[in-house]
């Protein structure tokens, strides 16, 4: 928690002070870094005879995306209930993102408005940051499934390495499946919600 928080703050200030004035985009470098990390994650899992031969796979681990999505929506609607100026529909769209910011925010921007699209974008970027910062703490205080619940769609790529590190190699498969399932259904749910509003 301390290490991840420090790395993030140093990065943010560094980016603000150094990179802001140059139009240097490091997002493709980040993708390569994620790819390299996932190569290592894959290697560790493939190399460990214990993981795939293990018959103790629990149905429970694969229901995480469903409960995580429901919890997110409940949390989002609670925020709308607390802040009167935030419409329930906006809060619902933001909470359906589950850490997936690119596609949902594009759908919302195109079909509703830029400001709601930006809210969806920011909320879900922050969610990605939260999983990277809080994974160590969540594993320590709650359980090893908690970061997968928080990570949403990011558990198939960006947050999979840190989940591997803290939840353990046995959680790579449920985490990856959680990310894939949500990455498929989130855009569908966002489109459906947009067309119903």
């Amino acid at each position: 928690m301390f290490k991840t928080g420090t790395a993030f703050l140093l990065g943010t200030f560094g980016g603000y002070l150094l990179l802001r004035n140059f139009s240097l985009d490091i997002s493709s470098a980040i993708s390569y870094l994620v790819a390299l990390l996932l190569f290592f994650v894959g290697f560790l899992v493939g190399n460990d005879s214990r993981i795939l031969g293990d018959s103790s796979w629990r149905v429970r681990d694969y229901l995480v995306p469903l409960f995580s999505l429901m919890g997110s929506v409940l949390g989002g609607l609670l925020v709308a209930a607390l802040i009167g100026s935030l419409p329930f529909s906006d809060a619902l769209l933001a909470s359906l993102g589950m850490g997936y910011y690119s596609v949902p925010s594009i759908i919302v921007t195109a079909r509703l408005s830029t400001s709601i699209g930006s809210l969806v974008l920011l909320t879900n970027i922050l969610r990605e940051v939260l999983v990277l910062l809080f994974t160590p703490l969540l594993v320590k205080k709650l359980n090893r499934l908690a970061p997968i619940a928080l990570g949403g769609t990011t558990t198939m790529d960006v947050s999979l390495p840190i989940i591997t590190e803290y939840s353990g190699k046995d959680y790579v498969v449920p985490a990856f499946i959680n990310g894939v399932v949500l990455t498929v259904i989130v855009p569908l749910l966002v489109s459906l919600t947009v067309s119903l509003i």
Partner: protein
């Protein structure tokens, strides 16, 4: 983004092929630990240097922070309650 999932599959396949040839992968785990911190650092850099995002943050920041926190907490809590009921030793 396909190459990201592909690299996971390639790594997995190589891990299977070379299973048993490595007695100690602790070194790799240490390298990953450092790379994860580098990843978090670079994501911070990417956000800190994004002026459009920073501009939006000044108007939508409060709402998006609350939403991110409550949605995350909701997800974690519901999954926690669900796992608590089914099995105490996760």
């Amino acid at each position: 983004m396909l190459f990201i999932s592909l690299s996971l599959i390639i790594g997995f396949t190589l891990g299977l092929v070379f299973r048993g040839r490595f007695s100690n992968l602790e070194f790799l785990e240490k390298v990953m630990d450092l790379l994860v911190l580098l990843l978090i650092f670079s994501i911070g850099m990417n956000l800190g240097s994004n002026t459009v995002l920073l501009e939006n943050f000044s108007t939508l920041g409060f709402q998006s922070i609350l939403l991110a926190l409550f949605c995350s907490a909701g997800s974690v809590l519901l999954v926690f309650l669900f796992t608590l009921r089914r099995n105490k030793n996760v």
